[in-house]
């Protein structure tokens, strides 16, 4: 009996791997020796940021805590669950609260909403722990000072993501938390209509900074936390801030490699 589907000389796997389709997708075979592994790592889009080899003691858990990696993992979890939640959430006064309830009670795998919420809390905790670890190990010293600055900006953006996302369920907790939080912006020096110095921005007798044109107004999109605020925070939370964060994360990782590797040079 002949082996149907199999040639005498190669297995099915080999047949697939020799096909034109496979070769057009995967430009290199799986690594089979040290030199080939280097080639694959250097020419693969997804792998090229990694070093080809790394010192084992450099990634010791007791030293790095792996909090940076965990934070990045949580960011990916948040991004994916967030996109999925967007399919069943409408940022309007009429629907916001009800859609969140529906996600919890009616939608299949609506557990995404809980994962998203818990992941957000966890991400804030891990990003603080990461910052703490970097400080304790002195990994902010030259040549890594700029990477520390990038990290601080990422911290602020993480907290802003939490702040804007908190409003989206549109429940009492959300509305009042954002009201109280944004009221602080009224008191901004010069730019807040209840803060010191707003009188300086005055053109020909007209105050430029009023309760409809100050920093708080810019943040909320209106004079109180209402529908415009919900829309504005939705866009900030889902699009604007994630774009900036993605770019900064890329720079952050790049600088880790270029400034001397994680813990020590390779």
């Amino acid at each position: 009996m002949s082996d149907i589907g199999k040639s005498a000389s190669m297995s099915v796997g080999d047949y697939i791997r020799d096909s034109q389709i496979w070769k057009s997708i995967f430009r290199h075979p799986a690594p089979y020796d040290r030199r080939n592994r280097v080639v694959v790592m250097l020419t693969n889009f997804f792998l090229h940021l990694h070093p080809v080899s790394i010192k084992q003691q450099g990634i010791a858990l007791s030293y790095t805590w792996c909090m940076g990696g965990v934070t990045f993992f949580l960011f990916l979890v948040e991004a994916i669950t967030g996109v999925l939640l967007m399919f069943y959430y409408r940022p309007t006064l009429e629907w916001a609260f009800n859609d969140i309830l529906a996600l919890r009670d009616v939608t299949t795998l609506g557990i995404m909403r809980e994962i998203h919420r818990w992941g957000a809390h966890a991400m804030v905790i891990t990003v603080w722990l990461h910052m703490y670890r970097v400080f304790l190990t002195g990994s902010y010293k030259p040549p890594r000072e700029f990477n520390w600055v990038v990290g601080v900006i990422l911290l602020k953006l993480t907290l802003l993501l939490s702040f804007t996302g908190y409003l989206l369920p549109w429940d009492q907790l959300a509305i009042w938390a954002i009201t109280v939080g944004s009221n602080m912006a009224r008191a901004t020096p010069v730019l807040g209509h209840e803060g010191p110095g707003f009188q300086f921005l005055n053109l020909g007798g007209y105050d430029l900074i009023t309760n409809a044109s100050d920093a708080r107004f810019l943040l909320l999109g209106s004079r109180f936390v209402g529908e415009e605020t919900l829309n504005r925070f939705y866009i900030l939370h889902c699009v604007a801030i994630p774009l900036v964060v993605s770019g900064l994360i890329a720079i952050h990782f790049w600088r880790v490699r270029k400034d001397g590797g994680i813990s020590q040079p390779l």
Binding site: T179, V180, N183, F217, L218, G221, S222, E227, E228
Partner: protein
């Protein structure tokens, strides 16, 4: 060449001199005649060789010599059958073929490396060990300098360095300021910078909305008789965010005024507690009297009044666009209250 450094031939000659019993007859004769022959043969033969005079060469020569004297066969055989190394040829020369062997060997244009000759050493002769041979070389050539440096290959003459082109001094005048300002580079980058700046400013303005969807700031709330003395009305609390207060406890005057339902601590909505006759904020516990004066909790100042008046049609009209703060003395402003005794 023979004078400057010791060629292979000279080293071997010295070896022979130190070992007269081993190789007296055969190479002795051609030594003298081959010196001149070698002078011509060596350049022709050594030119293509890799390293004449290297230890491998010497060893090979010694082995060839040992084989030459060991076997009775003509010594040209080790070299003639195949193109041997320089040392082979030299050994063949010394073995007695003289000029004939030299021409024969040189005509064959050897290309093999010395290693080949080492490997091609006749197997019949007992091969002296490397240490022995080196000792012989060193011992016999005590006065001899170590293996001379490889002979310098003859190089073609260096090309003549071309004379660099002289910088032609082009007379260029100083560019005028206007010429720089309107140069393409400045125009291009300048316009890009200006456009970018304008775009950033426009972006800032873009983020301030021009249309606000808010409840109306001026609205009528009914007649004075709707709000009896000693009451706090929550009728408009949900829709408009105000309490209508009719009290005589503020400085003994019988007044109707509207309080904004915004806690002066951080902005939550206090609750009017009818039983306790006070406003109590659920967020942090700020407490206000019925008149709106704060008395407990973190609130730093009294609740704010909003504008109120009696409209021409006799109805009460509230204007939320103006506010009055008691601690600044603004509660004396007649726009902030309605004198109920005049109703």
């Amino acid at each position: 060449m023979a004078e400057q450094k010791l060629s292979t031939a000279e080293i071997l000659a010295k070896l022979r001199a130190s070992k007269p019993s081993a190789s007296a007859e055969a190479p002795a004769a051609p030594t003298a005649e081959t010196v001149s022959a070698e002078a011509s043969a060596v350049p022709a033969v050594e030119a293509p060789a890799t390293k004449p005079g290297s230890p491998a060469d010497v060893l090979a020569a010694i082995r060839a010599q040992a084989a030459a004297k060991g076997s009775s066969a003509p010594d040209a055989k080790p070299a003639a059958p195949k193109p041997g190394a320089t040392s082979d040829i030299l050994a063949a020369i010394r073995a007695g073929k003289g000029g004939a062997a030299a021409s024969e060997a040189s005509a064959s244009a050897p290309k093999a490396t010395p290693a080949k000759s080492v490997a091609a050493a006749p197997s019949g002769a007992p091969k002296p060990s490397v240490e022995e041979m080196l000792k012989a070389v060193r011992g016999g050539a005590a006065s001899v300098a170590p293996i001379g440096e490889p002979s310098k290959p003859v190089l073609p003459p260096l090309p003549v360095k071309p004379v660099a082109a002289k910088d032609k001094k082009v007379a260029i005048e100083r560019r005028s300021f206007v010429a720089i300002c309107f140069s393409p580079l400045v125009i291009a980058f300048g316009s890009m910078a200006a456009t970018s700046l304008l775009w950033v400013l426009d972006l800032a303005r873009f983020m301030f909305p021009n249309v606000l969807v808010e409840p109306p700031t001026k609205f009528k709330i009914g007649s004075l008789s709707d709000y009896p003395l000693g009451t706090v009305s929550t009728k408009w609390l949900a829709a408009r965010g105000i309490w209508i207060v009719h009290t005589d406890q503020y400085k003994g005057k019988n007044l109707i005024y509207a309080l904004a339902s915004v806690c002066t601590h951080l902005g939550c909505t206090p609750n009017w507690l009818e039983g306790e006759q006070k406003y109590k904020c659920p967020c942090h516990g700020s407490g206000f009297y019925v008149t709106g004066i704060n008395f407990e909790g973190p609130a730093p100042r009294p609740l704010e009044r909003v504008g109120i008046r009696v409209a021409p049609d006799g109805m009460l009209e509230v204007d939320k666009s103006v506010k009055f703060q008691e601690e600044m003395g603004q509660w004396q402003d007649p726009n902030s209250f309605v004198d109920a005794t005049l109703a």
